[in-house]
């Protein structure tokens, strides 16, 4: 008894698959039959998907750079002149107890002087005339002595902040700086992040613009694809009427139009991806230069960068194909349902 129903179900399943193959092939052949109209529609869809995709890509590149910079962002803590090594160590231990501190590096006055000489290209004899230990002595000692001129640089801590909760590193650094300013023997505190905040703000603007543009373009795409589907339904009005007369359901009639919308969306997504590769190829160098101004690496060099770039390109292709296909399908569902319902025998 059980073999008969299963055989019937099997036949039905094969038949349904064959139906979908046939309808998808028909949709493709309809697209091929009107190459100019298809190309124009694909271009419209491709460009509409390209614009937000480019903005999102720029925003992502900047965000990645900012994250890298934030991880290196530090707070410079300058101690009073004349703080001894022991005092400096005590202050550093006190700072390390604070929650937001990730790491702390001590730069002694001598190290600072050496770094300054390297950076400024100062004469070694001139530097040798300083007593590197002077700054750690008391003012009275210095006044009474006949030693070399005093090292004017203070003991400095480079403190890295650690983000907690929903705070960004920048916010954590600002809060930590406020706490450190209250520590005894601390002369001044500088957060290296004002320009980073500006870059972050710019990135946020680009992200919001990309989101808004994506929304507007999605509406535009739904309208454009929907209109194409509506026209396709209109062109096949007679066929739809006859099909309804001999028992075709609206769902059956809609199937080739759904494939049409899906293929247009996927084709537009593919075109957008290709256009994006071209645009990035053309202006990628300029973007890299812009990001380099903020010390952001563009990550376009080396074998690792190549692999990463390929992976990113694959993700972008998947995203564009998915977005295009989904929008095309939704537009086809909405447009074909209304247009087919209007084609009554």
């Amino acid at each position: 008894m059980s073999s008969k129903p299963s055989a019937t179900a099997s036949l039905k399943r094969v038949s349904t698959l064959a139906e979908h193959r046939r309808e998808s092939a028909r949709a493709l052949s309809r697209l091929r039959a009107a190459p100019a109209a298809t190309l124009i529609t694909l271009l419209v869809i491709g460009i509409a998907l390209l614009l937000p995709a480019l903005l999102l890509q720029l925003q992502r590149a900047m965000s990645a750079g900012i994250v890298a910079l934030e991880s290196e962002a530090s707070i410079s803590v300058y101690l009073d002149l004349g703080v001894s090594d022991d005092d400096a160590k005590r202050v550093s231990e006190q700072i390390l107890k604070l929650d937001e501190v990730d790491s702390l590096e001590i730069i002694t006055p001598a190290q600072a002087l050496a770094q300054l000489s390297e950076t400024a290209g100062l004469d070694s004899e001139f530097l040798a005339s300083f007593d590197s230990e002077v700054s750690t002595r008391s003012q009275s000692d210095t006044r009474d002595s006949v030693f070399s001129p005093r090292n004017p640089l203070p003991t400095t801590f480079l403190v890295s902040a650690r983000a907690s909760g929903d705070d960004t590193l920048g916010e954590a650094a600002e809060r930590l700086a406020t706490e450190i300013r209250g520590v005894e023997r601390v002369e001044s505190v500088a957060v290296e992040g004002a320009w980073l905040a500006r870059l972050q703000a710019l990135t946020q603007i680009i992200r919001r613009a990309a989101q808004l543009l994506s929304l507007l373009m999605a509406v535009g795409l739904l309208t454009a694809i929907g209109n194409t589907i509506r026209l396709a339904v209109e062109q096949r009005r007679d066929e739809i009427r006859v099909s309804k007369l001999i028992g075709a359901s609206d769902g059956y009639i809609a199937r080739p139009f759904l494939y049409l919308g899906l293929f247009l969306g996927i084709g537009g997504g593919l075109l957008a991806w290709l256009l994006q590769l071209i645009v990035v190829g053309l202006i990628g160098h300029e973007i890299g230069q812009f990001l380099a101004l903020y010390a952001v690496e563009d990550g376009n060099s080396g074998a690792f960068a190549l692999g990463e770039a390929l992976q990113r390109a694959g993700q972008e292709l998947g995203l564009l194909l998915g977005a295009g296909g989904l929008l095309g399908w939704i537009a086809a569902v909405v447009a074909s349902r209304r247009a087919i319902a209007a084609c009554e025998p």
Partner: protein
């Protein structure tokens, strides 16, 4: 109501009009208080002048129009309450021959005839066998690859007939099916319909070809201004002719 006739008609009613009326939105009364039924395996002509309501009657059976009043039951479906999904299934059980053929001009003769089978989701191999058999019956197998535009009016009508019968329907509706055919071909088509009748298919044929109707001697419903004005049924014992 007995439906027994000379050919042993089934008692199963395939089409039942019970005081059915149809008034179009413009106010035109197309059918008024129409009552009759068609049994399984029964053949009936519907005749009358132009505008008598023949086409409206067929449209109601097919579900293109809904009755304004009364009850119409076709193949077990109450037509005034049928859902869109059921309506599609309902139409698959009915083979319809249209006066204006309703063929798809961008599809071949074969594809036109195969359309009902495609819609029903039939396996293509089985479908091919059925399509070729149907085309063979109407004498168009050799023209299966042509487009309808390449055929004469009579040939197009025969393609429409092949499409109507290919899905082995329970009911065949035909609106002037022999309008474009010569007498010899008309007789062949009617003989084909008779074959379907003999295997239990009900046929309702709208025609005003009196010679054809009188020659075949099937049950005849005559409409006049939307009303059943006369009914003749030669197959009933001793024959029957009623005027209303």
């Amino acid at each position: 109501m007995s439906m027994k006739g000379a050919k042993g008609y089934s008692l199963i009613r395939m089409i039942t009009f019970d005081r059915v009326s149809k008034r179009y939105p413009g106010g035109q009364q197309a059918l008024a208080n129409l009552t009759f039924s068609l049994a399984r395996g029964e053949f009936a002509f519907v005749t009358g002048h132009s505008g008598a309501g023949k086409s409206t009657l067929l449209k109601l059976v097919l579900g293109i129009e809904k009755p304004s009043g009364g009850n119409l039951v076709v193949n077990g479906n109450e037509m005034s309450q049928i859902s869109p999904k059921m309506l599609a299934l309902h139409r698959r059980q009915i083979g319809t021959v249209f006066q204006d053929h309703q063929l798809l001009n961008d599809r071949s003769v074969y594809d036109n005839v195969a359309l009902p089978l495609e819609i029903s989701g039939l396996d293509p191999r089985e479908g091919k066998r059925r399509v070729r058999a149907a085309l063979d019956k109407v004498g168009l197998l050799s023209k299966e690859k042509l487009l309808p535009m390449a055929l004469s009016g009579g040939e197009q009508q025969r393609v429409g007939i092949a499409r109507a019968v290919v899905n082995t329907p329970r009911i065949i509706l035909a609106d002037e099916p022999t309008g474009n055919l010569d007498p010899e071909l008309s007789a062949e088509i009617m003989a084909l319909f008779a074959q379907f009748m003999s295997v239990g298919v009900s046929l309702l044929v709208a025609s005003h070809d009196r010679a054809l109707i009188d020659g075949l001697g099937y049950r005849t419903l005559t409409l006049e201004e939307g009303r059943l004005s006369a009914e003749a049924n030669p197959h009933l014992a001793g024959g029957s002719a009623n005027e209303f």
